[in-house]
Structure formats: structure tokens, C-alpha cells
């Protein structure tokens, strides 16, 4: 299973809800506004650190670049679109829209 999050972590408790239900060990992919969760030093950093403790966490490079996010929380793996596709091929996807 691959949980994909594309909404801002500051809205709707979206990432929080995903983390509550995603089984430990399943990869988490942040894209579009979801990548704001990967920025270091924010109010939601604790949430992502919690995610990193039990999930591999990926963030899409193009979305980070578009938003000017340079300082990432350590442990977040940056991937390109090919990496995105690879993850989707390897896991059934659970889009957490």
C-alpha cells in the first residue's frame, strides 16, 4: 500500500488523518501541496517526524521546487516523477485526497 497526500498539512487535518490510519511500514508519498509538510521548523514538523518514525516518507522534487521549499526535515526522501511512477507500480495506491 502507498498512501499519497496532496493537501496542505495545515488544512483539514488531512495528513494527521492519514497517519492515524496508515499501517506502520507503508510508504507515504507527499506531492502537490502535501510537500509543505516536509519543510523543516514548522508547526507541523512533529507530525512528519512521527510519520518518519514508522513510514518511509517521499516528497516529489518538482512540487518542492515549485514552492521554493529548500530546507527539508531530515529523513524525507526526494524523488522525481520516475520515482513516483516506480512507487505506484510497486504498491496499491491509497490516495488520501
Amino acid at each position: 500500500m502507498l498512501f499519497t497526500v496532496n493537501k496542505s498539512p495545515y488544512l483539514r487535518g488531512n495528513l494527521e488523518g492519514c497517519l492515524r490510519l496508515a499501517p506502520a511500514g507503508t510508504p507515504l508519498l507527499l506531492y502537490e501541496d502535501g510537500v509543505y509538510a516536509a519543510a523543516a521548523g514548522t508547526r507541523v514538523e512533529g507530525l512528519l517526524r512521527q510519520a518518519l518514525a514508522s513510514h518511509p516518507v517521499y516528497a516529489v522534487e518538482a512540487d518542492l521546487k515549485a514552492r521554493g521549499i529548500a530546507r527539508l526535515i531530515e529523513g524525507v526522501r526526494v524523488i522525481d516523477y520516475a520515482g513516483f511512477v516506480e512507487l505506484v507500480e510497486q504498491h496499491p495506491v491509497v490516495p488520501w485526497l
Binding site: 496532496n6 493537501k7 496542505s8 495545515y10 488544512l11 502537490e32 501541496d33 509543505y36 519543510a39 523543516a40 521548523g41 514548522t42 508547526r43 507541523v44 514538523e45 518538482a62 512540487d63 521546487k65 515549485a66 514552492r67 521554493g68 529548500a70 530546507r71
Partner: protein
Amino acid sequence: MEHGEPRGEPSGAPPRKVLVLMRKAPYGSLYNWEGLQVLLIMGAYKMQGLVDIAVAFVEDGVFAITQGQDPSSLGMKAMAKTYPALPDFEVDRFYVDGQSLADRNLTLDDLVIKPEILDVAGMARLLAEQDAILPF
């Protein structure tokens, strides 16, 4: 007046105070882009003395004005580049919610413009003094 021409000065009425409230991040949805279009249009009304226009960035809206945005790989234009040009369109009053900046580990140095930072009470006063608030 020619047919279809925009109307000029209203009969001595003071300009209506309008606040464009930016609440959303720039690329995940079109809200921010639409807010920018409204600002560019509102500038024309301000030139006619019809409105007094201000912009406030709150919540994820502060992401609209961060430096270093490069959405070329998404096939989109860098939204942040338009904001420093807004004073040329008569839009020059910018405010930002200090709490929203702090929550996102951002300071004035991270932004492409230098809005006035307001605390919660300041934000409440700003909202209270408006005739209309347009949220995006």
C-alpha cells in the same frame, strides 16, 4: 458618457474599503491565481476613487509570497513574481498574519514583498474596518 464606459467618481461617496484575503497555497488550486486577477482588476477601480484596496495573507496564503518559487517543471508561472508589481496597479497595502508566518517557519526575509505583520488583534481590526472581504 459613452455607452459601455466605466463610470467615474461616484457622487461624493467615500471609497469602499475592500480586503482581498489570501488563504490558499499557490499551485495546488486556482484560488490564489484568481485572487491575483481580482487585485489587478480592483486597481482600476481604485484609480477611479471607488475602492480602497488592501491584501492580507493568512494561513496557507502566506505561501503565495515566499521567495525561490520555480514551478517551471509543473508548466506553471511563478505566482510570487506578480506581487512586487502590484503597486504599479495601485495595490500597495499588504498585510500578513504573524502567527501564520511563525507556524510555517517563515519570516519577512523569506518573502518577495514586505507586508505589515499583524497580530491576532491587528488582523481582527483590519477585518472589522472593511466594507467587503473577498476570500481566496
